[in-house]
């Protein structure tokens, strides 16, 4: 066997081994109920903001504390705490991807990804909204 072949095999084996090792540290998408089962494990939860509950954020008191209630498609809800400023479009998002861990009944959120309706400009409802503005002038 050629040196290069051996080298290729070794490198590929190392790479594959490493990937398999890393797969264990991958996170998963969970519902709120299943996240509660996996206490302390870093998970992704797709949910909605529960608009009937207040969003707690006061930048003067503490700019690094946000809390709100999230509800998922199965109807379960959980309090979410996020130690960063409130994402500006939080109230208007249709969906949020929450990345963090469940600690007891509270979801300690590390990162929030917003899926805003404004990002999907082709939705007729949004186009109508923007039209209302642009036809009144």
């Amino acid at each position: 066997m050629k040196k290069t072949h051996i080298l290729i095999l070794v490198l590929i084996a190392a790479a594959v081994g490493y990937m398999i090792m890393t797969m264990g540290s991958l996170s998963t998408y969970e519902s709120i109920a299943s996240a509660k089962q996996k206490q302390g494990k870093f998970v992704h939860v797709i949910a909605k903001l529960d608009k009937s509950q207040p969003i707690e954020y006061d930048a003067i008191k503490n700019p690094n504390y946000l809390s709100f209630v999230a509800v998922d498609s199965l109807g379960n809800s959980a309090k979410v705490i996020y130690h960063s400023p409130k994402p500006p479009e939080l109230e208007n998002t249709e969906r949020v991807v929450l990345k963090g861990k469940m600690e007891g009944e509270v979801f300690e959120c590390k990162d929030i990804l917003l899926k805003c309706p404004s990002k999907y400009k082709d939705d007729p409802r949004n186009v109508q909204k923007s039209l209302n503005k642009n036809t009144q002038q």
């Binding site: 040196k3 503490n62 690094n64 500006p88 999907y120 082709d122 186009v127 923007s130 642009n134 036809t135």
Partner: protein, 804 residues
């Protein structure tokens, strides 16, 4: 219904040219194919002539589509959906082009436009390889033309046309019940504010030139397999591959510069799938260039070169699929929305992937290769090893970027772990070590064989110098990035040595190896730049430091915070000085009252030790054009060795903190005193001249400006200059604000009775901003490195073009 006032001609022409480009490129592809397959030289020539005519027609129609779309956007024809969706009347002219490529249709158009340009060059410069290479490019043009088609074919949507009318796109909207709807649409939805940045004018065309040019090495690779003149063809591909790598690299890093300047994740690279998708093909292309160089001099690695050149283009197509299919929806911050063209996008990948792989597999045995092994002291051996490492790192990135695809196919629910960046960085730091060392040493090796004495003599001095520099950095550089433990920190220090080694060894090689012959030094220059990039990345990332820790007394600990929580945001109340590391910061003023949708905040920084003072102006769009909420743009102070970088993360809720005061209108004469709560003002002058920062009225037809002296009770004297700007018959009033007096003045009109002004005394609400600030050391080394690297690529390209 008969609609009134629609300007249909440009759109119809646009549709027509899309169809012409489709047919013309199809004819060109077939004719070029025939030109390759024909045996008789006379047949070859006549097919080639036909193909050239057809491809020229494609070039003309693609340019026509481009200029028609520019025309529509410039003329604000809002009956066209693309124009409505992506532009508005008040945009500065330089952003017209940004509108053009801000959505998917426009970026496909840009792509096909560059293909047309490159194809045009290849028709003249392709020589004997013109026909096979152009077959591939013409075929790609067919595929791209279908992306712009926007017709339904057996109930399936094929492509999306930028010329579709608003009422065709959304016939259900009540607006289209009126025949004169065109006159009712006064303005467009506008360009996403994040894209209103000069980088967005130049980054997309450069990136897409890079994207488009990757087809050339691919096409040469296919041509080699097809005509069985493997090596000969590949040698001609080298300058093209160098061009492509240079431009694609530049385009990617321009995107990084844009992200750094206008996005607020606090950096230039986040391993976001969209970024990875463009980086991976570049890595594979660079692999191909290196194995091709090995082949040129020794005959080794030709098979690998063919494979790399095929894969890099397939990966470009795959990245198109990833970013436009909406499959990344939950993982990327900035992927395009689902266009409803997933099948078409997938076919676009497969239609190149499958034939290319079949051809490669079929011809694999016939590709010449050398049975004798490379010597371990030869340059070609290490070129191959470097390419292999680079390729494996590309596979690693692709694998983790593709998780959403695997989830989709296998119905799994995997996602990247807690620290997305670390997933990539822990591997890339090792790759950096290997690549740094290889780029430093390999040029000092000779092809075929290198004697130990020769190597040691040449490389001794650079090695010692690099060791000294990197040890000094490690000791005095203050790199203590221990978030991921000692092992990772050690890897960073080793990587810094490797990167410095690469910089020093390549710089010195220009004299040691090339005797200062700068014309031949393209590779050394590119590697020198690459080394600088690595140094810049390593130091700026490992020493990046948040300085806006919440130290203010107003943070009331609620008990919910544990010690580990990142209190990385600081709230500043207007006029109140705060401490931020070694700075005193003060939110002094803002431009809330100017009426400009983009609000600037003046944040004053004062160095506590040196007394040095500067202002930063981070800005934000608030509730702009239906995009509710805040869209922040950072600002930074650049020093040669670091950047101070800050951006707004939160503002008072505009609903709660609404400025309830109204303008009170008065008609006054010049010189007349107008009193307000804490002073009076007089209008001194009416003219067309004014001096106001950040107000641009170049596009206006005329401007009326007032000069108003505002005298406060404290006998302070201020100048206010409200404006009335006329553009195309519309008058827009731009008020001016005297912050010291909480006063805003606007100009309503000039009437025969006098000057109608409005005066507003703001309720002095508590005004504050929450911001985050970083120090980025040595970030400039990264940017300089990129520029040097691209220059190196282009130098090599130039020399190889002349050599061909």
């Amino acid at each position: 219904m008969q609609y009134i006032g629609e300007r249909l001609l440009p759109g119809q022409l646009g549709h027509l040219f899309v169809i012409i480009s489709l047919v013309a490129s199809l004819v060109a592809a077939i004719a070029y194919f025939k030109a390759v397959q024909s045996d008789l030289p006379a047949d070859k020539e006549s097919w080639k002539r036909l193909a050239r005519i057809a491809f020229s027609l494609d070039i003309v129609s693609v340019f026509a589509i481009f200029f028609l779309l520019v025309f529509l956007i410039r003329s604000h024809y809002f009956e066209y959906f693309y124009v409505y969706k992506n532009s508005s009347t008040e945009l500065e002219p330089k952003y017209i082009l940004s509108c053009l490529w801000s959505a998917s249709e426009g970026s496909f158009l840009l792509w096909t436009l560059w293909h047309a340009v490159l194809g045009g060059v290849l028709m003249f410069k392709g020589k004997e390889w013109e026909a096979p290479v152009m077959t591939v490019i013409s075929f790609a043009q067919v595929c791209l033309a279908t992306m712009l088609l926007g017709i339904y074919f057996f109930g399936k949507k094929v492509g999306a046309s930028p010329f579709v009318l608003f009422r065709q796109q959304m016939p259900e909207l009540p607006l289209f019940a009126s025949a004169d709807y065109v006159t009712k649409i006064k303005n467009g939805n506008g360009l996403n504010p994040l894209l209103q940045n000069y980088w967005m004018v130049i980054h997309p065309p450069v990136l897409f030139l890079g994207f488009a040019s990757t087809i050339v090495p691919f096409a040469y690779g296919i041509a080699g397999l097809w005509t069985k003149k493997f090596g000969e063809v590949m040698k001609a591909a080298l300058p093209w591959a160098l061009f492509s790598a240079g431009i694609l690299g530049l385009g990617i890093m321009m995107g990084a510069a844009w992200a750094y300047e206008s996005l607020t994740f606090g950096g230039y690279w986040a391993w976001d799938p969209v970024e990875n998708a463009s980086l991976v093909p570049w890595l594979v292309l660079v692999c191909g260039i290196h194995t091709l160089l090995a082949y040129r001099s020794t005959g080794h690695s030709l098979r690998a070169t063919h494979l790399f050149f095929i894969l890099q283009f397939i990966l470009i197509l795959y990245s198109t699929f990833l970013t436009r299919s909406g499959i990344l929806g939950d993982t990327s911050v900035h992927s395009f929305a689902d266009l409803g063209m997933n099948l078409q996008l997938l076919l676009f990948v497969l239609v190149f992937l499958i034939p290319a792989l079949i051809l490669f597999a079929g011809r694999y045995k016939q590709i010449p290769s050398i049975v004798k092994e490379e010597s371990i002291s030869s340059r070609e051996f290490w070129l191959f090893v470097g390419s292999l490492v680079l390729f494996l790192s590309a596979l690693y990135i692709t694998f983790f970027t593709s998780l959403p695809v695997f989830n989709n196919v296998a119905d799994k629910k995997k996602a990247l772990g807690e620290d997305q960046e670390y997933t990539y960085n822990r591997v890339m730091v090792l790759v950096t070590v290997i690549l740094g060392l290889l780029t430093a040493i390999t040029q000092y090796l000779k092809y075929k064989n290198t004697s130990r004495e020769f190597l040691l003599k040449k490389i001794g001095v650079p090695t010692v110098i690099s060791l000294i520099i990197s040890v000094l950095i490690s000791i005095f550089g203050g790199i203590h990035y221990d978030k991921y433990g000692v092992g990772y920190l050690a890897a960073i220090h080793v990587a810094i040595f490797a990167a410095i080694y690469s910089v020093v060894a390549n710089a010195m090689y220009i004299w040691i190896g090339m005797k200062g012959d700068i014309k031949k030094a393209g590779a050394s220059v590119a590697h020198f730049g690459f080394g600088l990039v690595l140094v810049g990345i390593l130091i700026s990332s490992s020493k990046k430091e948040v300085i806006s820790f919440n130290t203010s007394g107003i943070a009331v600990p609620f008990g919910q915070d544990s010690k580990e929580d990142p209190k990385e945001n600081l709230t500043l109340i207007r006029g109140q000085e705060m401490n931020m590391l070694n700075y005193k910061v003060n939110y002094r003023k803002d431009t809330f009252f100017t009426g400009d949708p983009k609000h600037y905040f003046e944040i004053n920084f004062q160095d506590k030790e040196k007394g040095e003072e500067f202002n930063l102006y981070p800005n934000a769009f608030i509730n702009y054009k239906g995009n509710s909420g805040l869209m922040a743009n950072p600002d930074s102070k650049h020093y040669w060795n670091k950047d101070i970088f800050t951006y707004i993360t939160s503002l008072p809720d505009p609903e709660k903190n609404k400025d309830t005061a109204n303008y009170h209108d008065k008609t006054v004469k010049i010189g007349e005193k107008v009193f307000f709560a804490s002073g009076y003002m007089t209008v001194d002058k009416v003219s067309s001249e004014y001096e106001r920062a950040r107000i641009n009225t170049k596009a206006a037809d005329s401007v009326v400006a007032l000069k108003i002296s505002v005298i406060g009770k404290d006998s302070s004297n201020h100048l206010a200059q409200p404006l009335l700007v006329y553009t195309k018959g519309n008058a827009v009033s731009i008020p001016d604000t005297v912050l010291a007096q909480d006063l805003s003045v606007r100009l309503n009109a000039i009437t025969p009775e006098g000057i109608s002004i409005g005066v507003k005394e703001s309720d002095s609400l508590l005004q504050y901003v929450t911001l985050k600030a970083y120090v980025f050391p040595m970030i400039n080394v990264l940017w300089i490195g990129i520029i040097v690297m691209v220059i190196g690529f282009l130098m090599s390209m130039w020399r190889r073009f002349k050599g061909v």
